[in-house]
Amino acid sequence: MELLIKNGAVFDPKNGIKGDKTDISIKDGKIVSNVSSKATVIDAGGRLVMAGGVDAHSHIAGAKVNVGRMMRPEDTRSGISPRTKITRPCTGYTVPNVYAMGYRYAQMGYTTVFEAAQAIMKARHTHEELEEIPIIDKGALTLFGSNWPTMDFVREKNMDKLAAYVAWGLLASRGFGVKCVNPGGGEMWGFGKNVTGIDDVVPVFDVTPKEIIVSLMKVNEMLGLPHSVHLHCNNLGNPGNYKTTLASMELANQVKASKDRQVMHVTHLLFNSWGGTNWGDFESKADEVANYLNNHDNVTGDMGQMIFGSATTMTADGPKQYANAKLLHAKWSNGDVELEDASGVVPIYYVKQISVHAIMWAIGLELALLTKDPYKMLLTTDHPNGGPFVNYSEVIALLMSNKKRQEEIKTVHEAVHAKNKLPGLDRELDFSEIAIMTRAGTAKVLGLLDTKGHLGVGADADISIYDIKPDQIDPSVEHAKIKSAFSNAAYTIKGGQVVVKDGQITATPLGRTYWVDAKVPEEHHTEMMKDIVKKFKNYYSIQLANYMVQDEYVTHPQVIKTGAIPVEVN
């Protein structure tokens, strides 16, 4: 199957292409150097061409998402469309059904999305849902930050056993990477408490979040995992938390990367870049966080941009969600997972006239505009916490147009003038920088830049064509056109197959599920399993024999094999 895309204005940051008319040749699902005359030709007509979008952090599948659906029929009702010859019915806005999840990402030109968090015990559910999400390639990050075995091995300072546990946990959950949410807090929430900073001692387990984060980073690098530790910092959503964020980022200096990438990725920084001491003196510290990123190459972040309107907060940060529900007088779902982590789901409505919301909205944009290198600040909305992913085009337009930002600022609470730097920032990102924040940068952060996020030979043939001519548009002025173009791709090509044309789904192949199979020395695995066997004998409510995700739940696997590497530790 051969395809040739001609006359595209290509933005391929990894390969240094910034709008040049470049042909792209595709054969058998991969980008190749050339194709025969029998190839189907798509004339991009001078329009913008990028690699298919890659999303490193989105809540698209699993127990939390489904709780969101169950508790929000009003959300389900807000985005219903009937089945067509090619598509199943679509529902929802902040918590779409599985079909809408895949179709709507593809319609925006996205082709790879990672579920932000799964507990090992509930990973089978995550994969059941991922299996039903059409088109996109996907994977899931596995939670390790409050697991009892994690804390035990951290306390024992036994990195070999911890590495063995992470390797085994990734296999058990068919996970792609190490997720750490409010480390230690998940255990504290078991009795309704929380940690307040990285130095708090988790009782009985006798470890601190700091120790958990550093240990997980060490074993992540020992195992040579493609992605780094992916951290949701402690103190999310609390005024003044930027100090915890900076202290957490500094921990990255204690570990050396085993690959050409960061050792720590800090997620949805919008919620963790807060100054002040309470809701009254609440202010942005995005500049401090961006400044740190500007001066360090071992940490990356993503925005977690907020979109005004309906959102559903869902996170493993159980205590934060309880507090959220109380604050908002909102319905509250909680889901502790024994021996592993917590979770909470709370609907929210972000309002322009609420000062805190306006300040938060501005913080997200500041993070992107103040971080010099777009490889260090990925575009996300922490879907659906900051807002649904279908709004990525809004974020793109805001980042490319100061004019749009100023128009928006006029409509939001005036607090942004005192509490944020945003009104005075005139930086406008270009297509290349957007391509980094949504493709090349994400792929690099995830350790997938060999096959994703670029359009060079060897890449997966995941391509998006947008209805804009980059050399004929002024994104600053024509931001509405930018938004509309990025909302509905002219073409989305997945693995060499056209799946979207003019914003309509044309095919619904099933994508692949990425997971990591990490090898450790047999003795380490055996030692570690002795502890695990005890945990199942005494504390888990299911048998070890029934715990691990079976092959049946990952029908299109893309397995990345890694092995143990001796790593330099400072």
Binding site: D75, H125, Y322
Partner: protein, 432 residues
Amino acid sequence: MTVITDALCPFCGCVCDDLTIVVENNKITDIKNACKLGAAKIMGHHRIEAPMMRADKKSDFKEVSYEEAINEAAQILFKSKRPLMFGWASALCEVHKKGILLAEEVGAIIDNTATVCHAPSTLAVHEKGLPTATLGQIKNRSDVVVFWGSNPVHAHPRHMGRYSVFAKGFFQEKGRKGRKVIVVDVRKTETAGMADEFVQVQQGSDYLVISALRAILSGHADVVPESVGGISKEQLVKLVDTLKAAKFGSIFFGMGLTQSISRYKNIDNAISLITELNAFTKYVISPMRGHYNVTGFGQVCSWETGFATAVDFARGAPYYNPGETAANDVLLRKETDAAMIIAGDAGAHFPADSVRHLARIPVVQIDPYWNATTEVSNVVIPVAICGVEVEGTAYRMDGVSLRMRKMIEPTLPTDVEVLERITERVRELRGE
């Protein structure tokens, strides 16, 4: 002889996964660890051997081939203007997916047994959310356990031993001795007989009692009368103190709340009580789900359609409105003109008027066993037993997804095969 260890039980929502099954000559000859309910199901008994059909529900069935029965089932659904597809809870998630697809294709209403069980709990969750935890959290941490309108000794026999009362956990090393067990019910059940405290509530008064507890909890005991729902104010005040003194409290509730007069409002109120208790100490609330995979249907239906059950596909897109689209609603309004009943027994578990309507319309049954639905069916298609002869996914009552084993080889087609063939035939009839 084969011995299967760590097998899973396909009866109630506990989905105990520590069973040992002994198989000889493709027959199960011994079971260890299962309770009376699970053992009865797994050991099995005579079942329907072959498909059967009859035009007139009063006449005897005639044995037919699978081909004929499937064709007739497809004809019935194809010709129907308002089909109902009900049951599902005794089948695996893989079956549910096929069912929802078929429902979409024929524009049916699809509903599951939760409609007479915990569907009201879902309505309450729409209002208040669900603050809950996996069962191991209870085992490891819970020191105050309340069963409200629930009788696990009869309906979930191993729940207390494996998860909630006798189970020993990391922070609950003493098991039963470290726990305070409270039972709230209208009569002294055997579960109540094992409790540290039995709170006897007047039938239909649970809502009032929950409101009174909430008032006391929020410091407004002054508005509470001397007796609420047959319980003295003094006992209610003491109960609130007991609840507040927990380190980790858990409330398990059942049909006493979902089926009595205020239906879902009882659970709505109870969830609010739990949320308010969380201001003082850790609390969770959990529904005691009856069938081993009723939870699974709700999960699959939610991620596929956005709604947990009672989904009406007549418009080509999911529409949900219990009270309008639940199985008993459409049957009582005599709105449905054909029904497929699979892995659930509407004939036995729906009120008489609903069964009267089923007796008026063409009914297709897909089930291993002859039951009350068979008595009102026109087409009966026997299938392999999920969780015994067919492996696949089920969700425990706390939402944990597990893989049910195949213990013996099936001798009949599976639900999945039958649904696929019906769907194919419906498409043919449509000219697709």
